[in-house]
Amino acid sequence: MVKISPSEITPEHVFLNRRRFMAAAGATAGALALAGCSTTPLSGRATDLVESDSPAVVVRRPQNLPPALAHTEPTASVNQDELGDPLNKFEEITNYNNFYEFSTNKESVAREAAGFNSYPWQVEITGLVNNPMVLDIDDIYKRYPQEERIYRLRCVEAWSMVIPWVGFPISAILKDAEPKSEARYVRFVTVYRPEEMRGQRSGILDWPYQEGLRMDEAMHPLAILATGMYGKPLTNQQGAPIRLVVPWKYGFKSIKSVVTLEVTDTIPDTTWSAAAPHEYGFYANVNPNVNHPRWSQASERRIGENGRRPTLMFNGYEEEVAYLYAGMDLTRSY
C-alpha cells in the first residue's frame, strides 16, 4: 500500500504537485497494463517529495532506495582506485558533465538539468529477446543487487576522473530478457524530452542520443548500468536515474538517462559516429596508439591534477577486456 505521511503542514504547491504525481502514477500504471508487462507489481511505489532550491520546482524521488544508494552524504568504501589514484570529489564529478541534451558547457549542465524529471522512470528491454520487459526504476533497484564499482572515466576530450559508481552488470538484465540466438548487438537510447532538455531543441546532434555495444561487450562483467554514485542516486546531470558505464571505452559510449535497450542483429547507429564518422567509430575503445584527429589520445589530464599522465590501453582494463578484440585491427575498428 502507498503510505502517505502526515500532511497537515504540506504547502499548497507541494500538495498540488503530489496530485499531479498521483495522476502520472496512474498513467504509468495504465501504460504498463497496455504494454502487457507482467514483471511489475505496483507495490512499494511510495515516494516523497523533495523540494529543490526553487519553491516552484518539486522534484520527485524514490523513497525505498536500496542500501547502496541510501546514503545522505557522499559515501565510498575506498578512497582510491586499484591503481592507487584518488577518487575525484563528488563536486567535481557532478559539476563537469558532457550531456549535450542540457548544454554543451560542461559546467552548466548541473544547472540546466536541475528541473529534469528523472522519477518515475521506466526502461524498456525490447528487440530480439524472448522476454521483452518494461521495468520501473524501483523494480530495477529491487531485482538487481546494486554494488559499488570504482572506475576510471576517460573522455575523448582527453580529461579523466576516478568515479565510485553504484550499479549492476548489464548482463543481469539481458539474461532476464533472454536474447534470441541471432542477437548480436544492443542498442541504447536516451529519453527524448525536448520540453525538459533544451539541447534537444537544437540541431547540434541527431536526437535522441543513441549508443551501441556488441553483445559480448554488453555481457562483460565490467560493463554496468549505473544507478548511483558515491552511495547516492545519480544526479540529473550524470544521467539519472540510470545510465551505461563501460570503463574501457571513451566516455561518450556511456549513454545517459537510458529508456530503451534494444537487442538487434545489425550494428546500431551511434550518435557521434553519425555526426562525424571519420572521428568516432562504433568501438571507441580507449587507445593511446590511435589518435583522434584533433586530440592526442596518448596523454590525458586527470581532473584535480596538474600536468598530464599517459593514457592506458583500454583505460587500464586491458587484462580484463583485450580478449574481446583479439585479431581485430584497432586502428581500423576505432
Binding site: Y100, E107, A275, A276, R294, A298, I303
Partner: protein
Amino acid sequence: MATYVRNNWFWWVVTLTALAPMGWLAWRALTNSLGVDPVNTVNNVSGRAAMIVLFFSLACTPLNTIFGFRRALTVRRSLGLIAFAYASLHLLNFVGLDYGFDWNLIVQDAVLDKPYILAGSLALLLLALLAITSTRGWMRRLGRNWKRLHRLVYAAGVLVVLHFLWQAKAAERWEPLMYGGVLAALLLVRVPAVRNWLVRQRGARSARVSRPRAAQAD
C-alpha cells in the same frame, strides 16, 4: 586635466574594457573559483578574448576609412597588444598548466600531431613579431616596410580562426564559423573596390539625411 580627459577617454574606456576578461580571470584565480577544470576555463577565456580583441583591432581601420571615426585609430595598437597578451596567457596555460612544461610531450603529442596546434602556434609567432615591432622606433626604422610587415595581422587572423575551427567538434563548429564570418567581413571591407563603394554609399546616405534638415532651414 580636462583636455587630457577629452582627448583620451575613448582610449581608456576601450583599453580597460579589453582588459576586463583578464581581470575576471585574475579575480577567479585569486578566489580559487576557476571551476572544476581551471585549465579548461583559462584556455576558453584567454583564447576567445585574444580572438575577439584581435578582431576589434582589425575593425579600427575600416571604422576610420568608411565611417570617418578617427578615434578608432587611437586604440588600434593597444588592442593588438592586448590580443597578444591574451594569446600569450593562452600559450602559457597550455604549456604550463596543461602539459606541465613537458616539452617532449608538447612537441611530439601536440605541435607535430595536431594541425590546430600548429595553426595556433604560427598565429602566436606572427602576433609576437607584430608586438615587438609595434613601437615608434621600429616604425621609424622600417619605414614603409612597417606597413607591409603589419599586414601579416590578416594572416594571423585567418590562422586564429583555423585554430578554433580545427579543434571544434562537429556539433560546435557554428562558433568558429561565426567568427570566421566576422573576419571575412573585416577583410572584405579592405578590398579597395568594396571600401570605395561603401564610402560612396555612406556619402549618398548622409546627403539624403542632411537634405530635410536643409529644407527645415529654409
